[in-house]
């Protein structure tokens, strides 16, 4: 007897295009709302989707809860970086940073509150903004990206106060060292530079690729991710993922991870990292790999820990990268489910 052959339903042009878009989507950035119940994700088409974490985590969650509550076109180019203040969502991509009100963003057809462009030197090509950093003590925002400078913008007035120059190639990532206050920046030129915000000067430079233990020339010298815990810093990218002691500028632990890492963060007494390869890696400070939890995207670009005090039930780790899906980990040991654009 012959097997029943499933009938093929022809896909229309619009459906095929949508499927292709989703296949080629990359989610670059995530940000959690101040109330802790919503997650914003920005992709390479310039769209931002707002997911309701509380709905997706609740016990009556259905398939629709894993879809965005609202999706809107925020930028013309990819949305590389997003941060949230206590009322605003700031997103940056191709050259400008836009601000959205969190309470407005959930309604359809929301418009940006303001948008600013830092003063760029070149006009040939608009440089991208790869990283945003909030400095709460000064109420300012630091932007860094394609034009190799760190710009500081005062959030009250919107003026650009400083431009810190020093990198020779574009900047990938920023981290804030609360005590001093100092900003760390890592760039394509392979150096991690520390800047003092009060004097606006570079105080320390660590050229990671020059250290033999961690350099990996076949991957390149670029620093893709940075995280700092006052005295300590962990960075990764082309060179291996390494833990540094800042005062002495020495690498203390090298994590044995072959694939270049694109995002790293300190969490409790662990270091979480993600990059090429589908797993979220959990490291002990001693350098041992505690766990490797697979996600659903073939490569990860951003991790976000929802530690907002207002919503303890939404305390999850979300990971996103080279796909249209955001993986949600309720427990660091396994992937619970995925939200999808």
């Amino acid at each position: 007897m012959e097997r029943a052959v499933p009938l093929a339903v022809p896909l229309g042009q619009a459906e095929v295009f949508q499927a292709l878009q989703r296949l080629h989507m990359t989610i670059f950035s995530q940000s959690v709302s101040p109330c802790g119940k919503f997650l914003a994700a920005g992709n390479n088409y310039g769209q931002i989707a707002i997911f309701s974490l509380s709905a997706a985590l609740s016990s009556e969650a259905k398939e629709e809860s894993k879809k965005p509550v609202v999706t809107f076109q925020a930028h013309d180019g990819p949305v590389y970086s997003m941060v949230s203040t206590d009322r605003h969502l700031l997103s940056a991509g191709d050259g400008e940073v836009k601000a959205w009100l969190w309470v407005e963003v959930l309604k359809k057809g929301c418009k940006e509150l303001w948008h600013r462009q830092p003063p760029y030197r070149t006009s040939l090509e608009v440089p991208e903004i790869n990283a945003l950093l909030l400095v709460p003590k000064e109420n300012s925002l630091i932007l860094a990206g394609g034009d190799c400078q760190l710009h500081t913008m005062d959030l009250e007035t919107g003026t650009f106060t400083r431009a810190l120059r020093g990198h020779t190639d574009y900047i990938h990532c920023l981290a804030l060292r609360e005590r001093s206050p100092e900003v760390l920046s890592g760039g394509e030129d392979g150096a991690v530079r520390l800047w003092d915000l009060r004097t606006a000067k570079e105080v320390q430079t660590i050229e990671v690729y020059k250290h033999e233990e961690c350099s990996r020339p076949h991957n390149g010298r670029w620093i893709g991710c940075l995280a700092t815990d006052s005295d300590w810093m962990v960075c990764g990218g082309g060179p291996a993922l390494t833990l540094w002691h800042l005062r002495s500028s020495t690498p203390t632990t090298i994590f044995p991870m072959r694939a270049p890492q694109k995002h790293v963060t300190f969490y409790q007494d662990l270091i979480l990292s993600a990059g090429q390869g589908c797993c979220v890696n959990q490291w002990q400070l001693s350098g041992e790999l505690k766990a490797q939890v697979p996600g659903s995207s073939p490569g990860l670009l951003s991790l976000s820990l929802n530690q907002q005090p207002a919503a303890p039930e939404c305390k999850v780790l979300t990971a996103a990268g080279n796909s249209c899906r955001v993986d949600v980990f309720t427990n660091l040991g396994y992937r619970a489910f995925s939200l999808s654009f």
Partner: protein, 624 residues
């Protein structure tokens, strides 16, 4: 006599006499007893005396007895008489009562009596007084007396009814007259028909002379009458469409009309045949059982029997190629099928493969499964074919009998014809391009040259068709298969682009809806290791450039250049990728591919994208 005596005597005294007599008798008897016991001769006279006395007493007793009897009798008679009287009165009373009851019933009946006249709907009083002529209504009399009023109203009713009956008779006679007139006119018209026919015949030579083949069209319509309903709907809608909108479509009917007529034999013949054949069959089955396979085969053939008539379409496309479609109707399955053939101006192409034409297989009979074996012979039962024939098979509610519907066919005719033409044309264009691609040349037309830089070093070395199963087996196409974009109606190709030691494999999915649905590429680069979209973000970006940004590559309508432009862009992308690869300091020697492309920046963004976007006319590469 004694009866009279009875009335005179006193019963009490008689009773005393009786008692006295009885006593005397007893005494005498006792004396006689005495005497007899004493004995003696003189006793005999005493005894005799006493005997005579007792006899006398006996006679008195007898008399008293008689009198008593008579008294009794009299008493009884009197009672009897009285009783009879009472009975008679009783009877009378009952009769009277009965009569009373009867009369009461009659009275109630009379009171309940509804006269027939109350059932007649009379007009209301006001109307009556308004309408009736005074000699009937007699207002002065009737107002006061209800009886007279009713009578008057009944009179009026009768009057009205008589009038209406007269009118009715009049109308009937009118109707008869008119019917007769109609008959006459009908006869006149029917005598007209043969005259018109003869005129038509006479005009044939004129028609031919003027090139207006009405007769031929008429003959077509005649044959069309024998078409089964879906084919008839198809024929009518297509002829209408062809005449009204599209001169490039011509419709004809092929096949044997006699066989079509023979399908509808009168039932009596077939019944006789059946009974004979049944008897025969029984005999044969007793002798020889045909094998199960043969039986099934026969049943299948019966199921798939085709109607002897078919409808043929000839669609002329702009470049002088003609698409021939022949539509058949499978009677027992109630579906239509189609066979296609393309003839171009220059060469004949073999029948277009099933994979190219879109449309799902029609639903309905489960025997569709077995149909796949017969498709080459019977034609393809596509859904669009059923829609053109007006047959609608809704998935949710399977219906047992589906009737051909003209409006369904009409609504789909134009779009289907246009789609067929575009498909044929794009398919023919593709064939020409394939011929060139197989020789390693990517044929980019001059009006699309601006999309690419002047110098493209990477070359297409191979272009082959691969099977659907082979595509599914490739390790870098899994995500396409999962999303459902790699069905079995698509065509699959493998292209190989080379430059130096770098080899780029591209697996291409060509959808039948080309070129409105773009071909989908999946890449695998072999250079310093194997790179696919799962381990290299730039390969992912390259795929995005050809798959998602395809609209820029469509070229002028009707976008037949899409595939070749995509391939050319792929070559350009490989060039950029190889030339912008950062030099590994640990490896000795110069770069294999020196950078010749003008780029503003080599890497951008967190995923370090290469500059894949070509800017015209400045000629440099930038990022999207």
């Amino acid at each position: 006599s004694e009866e009279a005596e009875v009335d005179l005597r006193d019963p009490g005294r008689d009773y005393e006499l009786y008692k006295y007599t009885c006593q005397e008798l007893q005494r005498l008897m006792a004396e006689i007893q005495d005497l007899k016991s004493r004995g003696g001769k003189d006793m005999a006279i005493e005894i005799e005396e006493r005997r005579i006395q007792s006899c006398v007493h006996f006679m008195t007793l007898k008399k008293l007895n008689r009198l008593a009897h008579i008294r009794l009798k009299k008493g009884r008679d009197q009672t009897h008489e009285a009783k009879q009287k009472v009975d008679a009165y009783h009877l009378q009373l009952q009769n009277l009562l009965y009569e009373v009851m009867h009369l009461q019933k009659e009275i109630t009946k009379c009171l309940e009596f509804k006269s027939k006249h109350e059932e007649i709907d009379l007009v209301s009083l006001e109307e009556f007084y308004n309408e009736a002529p005074p000699d009937i209504s007699k207002a002065e009399v009737t107002m006061g007396d209800p009886h007279q009023q009713t009578l008057a109203r009944l009179d009026w009713e009768l009057e009205q009814r008589k009038r209406l009956a007269d009118k009715y008779r009049e109308c009937l006679s009118n109707k008869e007259k008119i019917l007769k007139e109609i008959e006459v006119k009908k006869e006149y018209l029917s005598s007209l028909q043969p005259r018109l026919n003869s005129i038509m015949q006479a005009s044939l030579p004129v028609q031919e002379y003027l090139f207006m083949p009405f007769d031929q069209a008429h003959k077509q319509y005649e044959t069309a009458r024998h078409l089964p309903p879906p084919l008839y709907v198809l024929f009518v809608q297509a002829t209408a469409y062809g005449q009204a909108c599209d001169k490039t479509l011509s419709v004809a009917i092929e096949g044997s009309v006699d066989e079509a007529k023979a399908l509808f034999k009168p039932p009596e013949d077939s019944q006789d045949d059946e009974s004979d054949s049944d008897a025969e069959e029984e005999q044969t089955t007793k002798r020889r059982r045909p094998t199960l396979g043969v039986q099934l085969d026969d049943k299948r053939k019966e199921m798939l029997k085709r109607h002897p008539l078919s409808v043929m379409f000839d669609l002329k496309c702009k470049d002088d190629s003609v698409l021939h479609l022949t539509f058949y109707y499978l009677m027992n399955l109630n579906i239509m099928t189609v066979k296609a053939k393309v003839t171009t101006a220059t060469e004949l192409i073999t029948p277009i493969s099933a994979g190219y034409w879109a449309g799902a297989v029609g639903s309905g009979a489960q025997d569709i499964l077995t149909l796949r074996d017969y498709v080459l012979d019977l034609g393809h039962p596509y859904l669009w074919v059923q829609k053109l024939g007006g047959l609608h098979f809704p998935k949710e509610q399977p219906q047992h009998t589906v009737i051909a519907d003209h409006s369904l066919s009409a609504s789909h005719m134009e779009t289907t014809m246009k789609l067929l033409k575009t498909r044929v044309q794009s398919r023919l264009a593709l064939h020409k391009q394939f011929a060139s691609l197989e020789h390693g040349i990517v044929p980019v037309t001059s009006d699309c040259q601006y999309l690419f830089p002047a110098k493209v070093v990477s070359r297409l070395v191979k272009w082959v068709t691969i099977a659907h199963e082979d595509y599914m087996e490739l390790h870098f196409t899994k995500d396409i298969v999962e999303v459902g974009l790699a069905g079995d109606t698509n065509l699959y190709y493998m292209a190989l682009v080379e430059r130096g030691t770098a080899k780029l494999q591209a697996a291409v999915v060509l959808n039948p809806g080309y070129s409105s649905i773009p071909p989908i590429f999946r890449l695998c680069l072999n250079w310093k290791g194997e790179k696919t979209n799962s381990n290299d973000d730039n390969i992912r970006a390259m795929e995005s450039e050809v798959n998602v940004c395809y609209k820029e590559l469509c070229g002028p309508r009707p976008s037949h250049q899409l595939l070749t432009n995509q391939l050319q862009r792929l070559c350009v992308l490989l060039d950029v990728y190889l030339e912008t690869e950062s030099h590994d300091d640990s490896v000795e020697g110069p770069k294999e591919f020196p950078q010749e492309k003008m780029c503003l920046r080599l890497f951008r963004g967190p995923s370090r994208m290469k500059p894949f976007k070509y800017n015209h006319p400045q000629g440099f590469f930038s990022h999207r």
